[in-house]
Symmetry: C2
């Protein structure tokens, strides 16, 4: 079996072998960045999940919006506002299954094979793997205790014109380094000056021992004109609440966010196969008796009549059949189905 070439760019075997050994009895692990399970608010999470299932079972268990559950987006925006990103609107972020999915979306939407990406040396190894998987050449910028050395970073940006610069400014993984306030502002200025996307990964910012860290790049971006247009911010509840919740988020310029949300989506005038199961009725407009034969046009008329379906053309990889459409009979109950079909008949006549 021939695998995709992009897998050749990824090397993980040493770490994988190590993690297999962690199952040995009695091993004390300083390996994974796992929060202590004893710290999880099990009672709180349990009560919250019960409340969600009781109060809004449909929303909790049904398919949801690609961008994420709107009340959660609002809560995350409020959480970020409390940490200084005061002008962040809920529609400027999408909910992800963690920072990792945000990174995958950034790689998928931004990186062409051969593009250059600058990261801290050292940085989160899964980030290196993720960007390499999409064909990036990953370049290391030197760090010290105050994080990325911005003088060296500027030289590297000027030399390599990278597609993006990825930083963990607060408590870097694995370095633990903290980018100083002065350097944070300088990074935002570099983003604007070189029109380079800066990706701030910030899963650890709330885990400080003494003094609070400087504001995030996202919070500071309001002080550096134009910098918000060149900044993406990845956040996560994995380290502050629980990894098992699988909740993270991506804040990014509108154009990028739109690209990252790759969403999936009567009489003799119609003919269809009687399905034996499943969710769908696949219908074709026959055009008989001068009836409408364009399913896209019918879809528009149908919306006006208060009934919706999916035109068939996008289901074809080649030679789309413009007369076809798909009716899902799984969501509406029988009365609704009868009413919907009556409206569809109206739309056909209209």
């Amino acid at each position: 079996m021939q695998f995709a070439d992009r897998l050749n760019n990824v090397e993980t075997s040493a770490i994988r072998e190590l993690f297999k050994l962690l199952g040995k009895p009695g091993i004390i692990s300083f390996a994974g960045g796992f929060p202590d399970s004893a710290m999880f608010d099990v009672a709180g999470i349990s009560a919250a999940s019960q409340a969600a299932l009781q109060q809004e079972p449909g929303a909790a268990l049904q398919y949801g919006a690609t961008e994420g559950y709107q009340p959660l987006r609002e809560q995350i925006a409020a959480f970020m506002a409390a940490k200084g990103a005061r002008d962040l609107a809920p529609d400027q972020l999408v909910v992800t299954t963690g920072s990792q999915q945000a990174l995958d979306l950034l790689g998928k939407t931004m990186i062409n094979p051969g593009d250059k990406v600058i990261v801290e040396g050292p940085t989160f190894l899964a980030t290196i793997q993720c960007f390499r998987l999409y064909g990036a050449e990953v370049i290391s910028a030197p760090i010290d205790a105050e994080g990325a050395r911005v003088d060296a970073l500027e030289k590297l940006i000027a030399e390599h014109q990278p597609k993006l610069v990825y930083l963990i400014p607060t408590f870097g993984n694995p370095s633990g380094a903290m980018l100083s306030l002065e350097r944070r502002k300088k990074v935002l200025e570099l983003a604007v000056k070189y029109q380079t996307l800066v990706v701030e990964d910030d899963p650890y910012g709330d885990l400080y021992f003494g003094e609070a860290p400087p504001p995030s790049l996202l919070a500071l971006s309001s002080e550096v004109p134009g910098s918000r247009d060149w900044l993406a911010h990845c956040g996560s509840l994995s380290k502050v609440l629980s990894p098992g919740l699988r909740i993270g988020w991506l804040v990014a310029p509108a154009a990028l966010l739109g690209r990252a949300v790759l969403r999936e989506q009567l009489g003799d005038a119609v003919e269809f196969l009687q399905p034996q199961g499943g969710l769908f009725l696949w219908v074709r407009l026959t055009g008989k008796g001068g009836a409408l034969a364009d399913a896209g046009e019918l879809a528009k008329r149908a919306i006006a009549q208060g009934v919706a379906f999916v035109p068939g053309a996008p289901f074809f990889a080649q030679n789309p059949d413009a007369t076809s459409f798909r009716l899902s009979f799984a969501t509406a109950d029988e009365d609704k189905i009868r009413e919907g079909i009556a409206r569809l008949a109206q739309a056909l006549k209209a």
Copy 2:
């Protein structure tokens, strides 16, 4: 901002615009393949989630294995066995967030730009988008009420030598078509004859009205020698239990499955930055006084002493520092940390 070229292959705007209109009050929707929320077993799911949080809060809320929670893998294997795939072992499948993630993993691991992929015409539009995103040329095979016409399919396979053939054999989306038993066996024979991966997507197989559908390709593969080596099977609980659970699975040959699991992962002999927060201590072996300076070697000795950490080299995109390693102090409590550091000191001396 310059986006990745792969986005040029994806066209979804018509459907996206349609789905935006679904929010209009009073619309009866035959559009999305959403199960009726009234059918969800809210009480059962609620009780199960409470039980998981009470009995195993650590497992429920902590990071888990990339392959999925082992008891869940066992349950899924048993579920598949009850439907005829009797020889399926839990380690032959990985848990995903739905069929969609399984398709993304298949695209990522299998498809090079320019590779050919054969699908039914019409087929699930998100599949077309997913494979195109990884650069596939997607070719349509004709169908009738018994699903893909295997004679035409064989000609297309012989002509195009595709990287994979993607089918929804049972209650196709959007066609509702059902691949006959005879054709199912023929498809498996074609997989072996042409050494072509066949991907069976089966989210709807349990949703039949009358007679049960023929066994899945996965179940039938035991009757066609060699075919299991060329078969991947995507399953999902979204249509039979609830989409909100986000549980699916991918059964595939071991080599493919291994590729799809792209996992993320004292004294003056060491020096480190005192972190101000976060989860990690980033350490360097100084080699002073003839002490060990190779963190990879130290990791091996440390495991023998019962303590684990991550060597630093893989965190560098360039010029790896072999003397560095990362200690996570987040998982172990204080007593464990003291004991672990004592073991580490032993390993350094060993």
